[in-house]
Assembly symmetry: C2
Homo-oligomer: 369 residues x 2
């Protein structure tokens, strides 16, 4: 693998006037956390927007000072990598309603001086995109070469294409969908119910007190199962019993149980429960099915690369087929690829599975119209 980006920093931009949301409410002030990699060229034509997934953040690549682990898509972004920072100017911003530096339910409500909690307004994926448009406007960028992301990131890439067709050229939704199925909504709802069932949730007013960590951990454990494939769980755990298990109890006996608990507990330290509620609702409401992707303007000039993973049962490839069918029906240039990766929905995040994905994307981006 090529050398990475080295040390990077998260930047913050504050928009004092804020953003008028789809609901009619205004979210002000609005802070966006973002990172950039590579240089904007003089024509300002080499921007690639990376959209993060549900629990992701702006730190997509490189390493923060003093931290060992690189950003969540480091194998994809850097000099000579699929999103080649010698060629492209890559931007990744944390979504609004998140908890990684952009304004969200844990941010201070200027009206009360306290965290918003459930006073935070409902946001949609369209609102998240509008906020990012304010950011690129601020950076002096009119047109974006490509918008790319996996899972919710792919849905955001589609939302970009739907809202700002004249500002984008390439769209790369990975393991995404035009809308959630009832099953996808149902899994999200169980996660939300697990959080809200935790008495420490306190109708969202837990800041500075006990966090609803049991509920959030249960939600994450469930999420984690849905992100993996049966096959990858089989490979990783089989039915091995934990070495330290003290016999039959309701403590974890199987390795898979201990792993899930570990994932649930470590998630609690890095993610805000209210952000979990707001962002999953935004995903559930997202709907670009039918002709809705094409309502704001022509996408005739755009090129789509739609990627799905064979072992992804949460966002099954049939949802990507639907997407490609819609695009083809509208005579849009769309390439579809189903990658035979075994890690389920998470395949797009995993370096060992990401070789084919990186290869496809690199060549798709190089083929400028």
């Amino acid at each position: 693998m090529t050398k990475g980006l080295g040390t990077v920093e998260t930047k913050f931009h504050v928009f004092p006037e804020g953003l008028k949301l789809e609901s009619g409410k205004t979210l002000a002030p609005l802070t966006l956390a973002y990172e950039t990699y590579g240089e904007l060229n003089s024509e300002k034509s080499n921007t690639i927007l990376v959209m993060h997934a549900f629990t992701g953040d702006a730190h997509a690549a490189g390493s923060h000072k003093g931290e060992k682990a690189p950003g969540w898509w480091d194998f994809m972004i850097g000099p000579g990598r699929a999103l080649n920072t010698e060629k492209y100017f890559v931007i990744c911003a944390n979504v609004i309603a998140g908890c990684k530096g952009s304004t969200g339910p844990s941010s201070t409500n200027p009206k009360t001086g306290k965290p918003y909690a459930l006073e935070f307004p409902a946001v949609t994926l369209a609102d998240m995109v509008h906020a990012q448009v304010m950011l690129i406007d601020q950076l002096g960028i009119r047109k974006v070469y490509a918008v790319i992301g996996g899972s919710m990131g792919g849905m955001l890439a589609l939302q970009w294409a739907a809202l700002y067709p004249d500002r984008i050229e390439c769209v790369i939704p990975i393991a995404a969908t035009l809308k959630h199925s009832p099953q996808q909504i149902a899994f999200n709802e169980v996660g939300r119910q697990a959080i809200m069932a935790d008495p420490d949730w306190q109708k969202g007013n837990y800041y500075g007190k006990n966090l609803p960590e049991h509920g959030l951990a249960v939600a994450r454990m469930l999420g984690h199962i849905t992100y993996m494939s049966n096959e990858s769980m089989e490979k990783k755990f089989a039915r091995r019993v934990k070495e330290d298990n003290g016999g039959f109890q309701f403590s974890p006996d199987f390795e898979v149980e201990g792993y899930l608990q570990y994932r649930g507990q470590s998630f609690v330290k890095r993610f805000d429960a209210n952000s979990y509620l707001y962002i999953t609702k935004a995903m559930d409401y997202f709907d670009l099915s039918g002709d809705k992707l094409f309502e704001k303007g022509s996408l005739d000039h755009a090129r789509f690369l739609v990627i799905a993973f064979k072992s992804d049962w949460l966002y099954p490839s049939v949802q990507s087929h639907d997407m490609v069918r819609q695009l083809k029906m509208h005579n849009i240039d769309a390439t579809y690829c189903e990658i035979d990766a075994g890690y389920g929905h998470d395949s797009f995040l995993i370096e060992s599975e990401g070789i084919k994905q990186a290869h496809l994307i690199k060549h798709f981006l190089a083929k400028r119209k």
Copy 2:
């Protein structure tokens, strides 16, 4: 449909000496709740044992006095039905560790005079079968014509065959497996964690106090998603928004959310949280893979009908294939049928989907060797 059984009653048998469990502990006294339909013939050769699924009970068919809804497998059991009570003597007993009349964690611990709670000993599927053997011994039945069940009921049927090969003839595991995959264990573990995360769980000592109903409802909601297929959820709910939804909130917006909440809440009234923990653990530990099904004695005389459902992603048909492969490798008479039913794992319980299943079983049973 033929006329059903009419009014039936649950019976109880108490074994004062109890049962020695696999763990070495003795569970005494032991009560078994059971129902019987039809008449035992003079040769005592017409018994069919029905095994219930995880949250099922002894009330498989007919109606209890004053109750409208019949037992959980009423469309399968009765005069002229697949398990024809004019021909067969059908027995269904509640498993031990359950909460429907057989001794379980909510029963009184004779040592303390209080409910067992987590003082209840760990039980296995083998223990559940041993308890049933005591029951048929008591009824004077040596040989059983058929053992049948879906989901955990199918696993119990296999456990019967493994432990008492010389006492059974036909074995009909439906939507079952020889062992849980890590994914199946993981879903169970999230359910257990949801229960144990509820502060009302109180390490199992909630009897006579607030029940851990939030945790149990979350566990059930998750279970319910895994029992349905994506397709059946799509048909049932699409993405319809609830009529009474007051706009974007964290109350249920989509019908699927309201339905899950309803199912979760109604479950809380009929099932004990500690039974949930004990029985799911017993399922997770169950393992008849490899040659373990054949270790206690020859099954050469037995006939197997293995049924799987195409849309069942929780107990996918590949697990039934494995079962049939094992049986064929041991030269056992095994018929396999994958039914194209759309309701996912729950298909075996649903009358509209059950026609093919009923037909197959009726003819399989009629074909006495």
